[in-house]
Amino acid sequence: MDAILKWKKERRLFLIWLTILSIIFYLSLPIALAIIPEWMNASPIGSITWAWIYAFLQVIMTWIIGWIYWIKAKQLDKLVAQIKQEASE
């Protein structure tokens, strides 16, 4: 039962943090567009505004978060294998 508790705790912690950070990151885009449009429409590089930079960041972050999940899931898989072993004993 030890492995199960450990796995549950690790997974839960990981997911909760990842979810909270993701929600903040993703929802900030439409909220920022609503609350601070002047800032979002300022262009730091040539004619590319913060709004567009943020939009592209969302694409890249999606891939990064997916990749983080993949790596963590592989780690957790080892714990799962342990659980499987204990379950069949």
Partner: protein, 512 residues
């Protein structure tokens, strides 16, 4: 219709029918028919998911939306892409571990009952049909424009093809048609993007300048707000898109086609990479259209902007490239509707017929026949529906499906997998409240109640085009309140269930 078009068109039809023939010989059992015997690899499944997901509405509609409205069009793409994280983190693996063929299996793994099966089957069925009908209608119009066939012929051709793929080839044919479509779509979009860049001699600044010149918005083109007029619309749309995919049955059942959790993750990651790249390329195409074709000419050709990609193809590569893009659009349509047919078929034939009507007592052969006949019936009925809806604006059905999926399916799926105090009655109440909220807010909204061209010619009572931000919380609340007010007797131990959902391991408890 000129010969080039005809040639491409026939090529695609023949290739897909060959795939179906090959698949038919390997679809002799229900395991093969419904889930391709779990034999797809993660990457293949990822490509099929991308093929299932990217509809002609995305390809043509988003290029058009970006060409006309700039930033807001791209927001659609973002919502579609980010939704895959919700799928990856929360629902993909549990669905794979808990169910066999359908979504009903997943919820019934915790609440085994006919009531739940009915409601999940009906939900999946409705979403699949509502998603399919605007696809068929739009494709009829599209094929008519591009290939010069009349609406009825176009719809009949697409309707028959999708039915043939599923009846004879099941999930195997559907998946491989989708994989082929993904390859074709990605390569043609990549090609077009390269042509756009080379047209402006790889000078991005020049491209951006020409974009501003080509649209009445001028400098303001790149600013948000041209399509989604107020922040509530923006947030509502974004949230509905992000949460919607995780409730779409035709995407979720694809997780049965691979053999373990690692392949499930690979599928979602592959799909998200493909979809992400695709939407970045459609951005290029949208901007290219604004620069090369210009706003005015685009509006004249089609006020919804859906002809942006074909017009761009014609301007950059003549008739040949236009024929190529049209053929891709055609393949895109059949791939998506085939996926929807098999999803509706699974709900009807596996959940309703096999489990409820026949109480799970049918032979393999009977189940297979039932599935094939259901697919035939569903294909036939949807085609007839689409034929009848020729002149009716059905685009609101597209937003409906995402909102219904996010407000009725998703709460049930999430709470079943993660919430200990979720009850059967809560599930039913949640499902119904989400469905009722979405439908009524849409009927009372500007899609249907529109003084100019709505079904009801009055001022809308509810002002948002995208009622997601209200309907989705209602669905979740309905499920929560329902569970707290009507707690059920747990027939299934939650701890055991949770472990099975997350890892696939069935633990025998009682030895502690």
């Amino acid at each position: 219709m000129n010969f080039t078009y005809f040639l491409f068109f026939v090529c695609i039809v023949i290739c897909t029918l060959i795939i179906t023939y090959w698949a038919a010989r390997r679809s002799q059992t229900t395991f093969q028919f419904y889930t391709a015997a779990g034999e797809l690899t993660g990457i293949q499944n990822g490509m099929a998911i991308a093929g299932d997901y990217i509809s002609a509405a995305s390809f043509l509609g988003i290029v058009g939306a970006i060409a006309l409205n700039g930033y807001d069009g791209f927001l659609y793409s973002l919502g579609f892409l980010v939704s895959y994280l919700v799928v990856l983190l929360f629902v993909a693996e549990p669905i794979h571990h808990l169910g066999k063929y359908s979504l009903g299996d997943v919820i019934c793994a915790r609440f085994p009952s006919n009531q739940i099966r009915w409601i999940m089957a009906i939900g999946s069925f409705i979403i699949s049909i509502f998603y399919m009908i605007p696809q068929l209608v739009a494709s009829g119009l599209l094929i008519r424009l591009l290939l010069d066939l009349d609406y009825t012929t176009s719809v009949l051709i697409i309707g028959s093809l999708m039915t043939v793929y599923v009846v004879f080839g099941g999930m195997i044919a559907t998946s491989w048609v989708q994989i082929v479509k993904t390859i074709l779509l990605m390569s043609s979009t990549f090609l077009l993007s390269l042509i756009v860049f080379s047209y402006y001699n790889w000078d991005i600044n020049d491209l951006l300048q020409k974009v501003k010149a080509g649209t009445p918005f001028g400098d303001q083109f790149f600013m948000p707000g041209h399509l989604l007029s107020n922040p509530y619309e923006m947030i509502s749309l974004y949230v509905a898109l992000i949460l919607g995919t995780a409730g779409l049955p035709h995407i979720l059942i694809r997780f049965y086609t691979v053999k373990n959790a690692a392949e499930v993750r690979k599928s979602v990651l592959t799909a998200s990479w493909i979809i992400g790249l695709f939407y970045v390329m459609t951005l290029v195409l949208g901007l290219g259209t604004a620069a090369v074709i210009g706003y005015d000419e685009l509006i004249v050709a089609d006020s919804t902007g859906n002809l942006a990609a074909p017009l761009l193809a014609k301007a950059l590569g003549g008739d040949f490239l236009l024929a190529f893009v049209s053929a891709i659009a055609f393949t895109t349509v059949v791939a998506v509707v085939a996926g929807l047919v098999i999803s509706a078929t699974t709900a009807f034939s596996h959940d309703l017929y096999h489990h409820i009507f026949k109480k799970g007592k049918t032979t393999e052969k009977e189940q297979l026949r039932a599935a094939q006949w259901s697919a035939f019936g569903i294909g036939l009925i949807s085609t007839l529906f689409a034929l009848g809806l020729k002149n009716i604006n059905v685009t609101f059905l597209v937003s409906l499906t995402f909102i219904v999926a996010a407000s009725s399916n998703l709460p049930i799926i999430l709470f079943t997998i993660y919430w200990k105090r979720f009850s059967q009655t809560g599930a039913i109440i949640g499902m119904v409240s989400g469905l009722v909220a979405s439908l009524s807010l849409l009927v009372l909204g500007p899609h249907i109640m529109n003084v100019e061209n709505g079904w009801i010619l009055r001022e809308p009572i509810f002002s948002l085009y995208n009622p997601g931000i209200i309907a989705i919380p209602i669905g979740f609340l309905g499920a929560i309140i329902g569970s707290l007010l009507f707690p059920g007797r747990e027939k299934v131990d939650f701890e055991t269930f949770y472990i099975k959902a997350q890892t696939g391991i069935s633990i025998r408890r009682g030895n502690d």
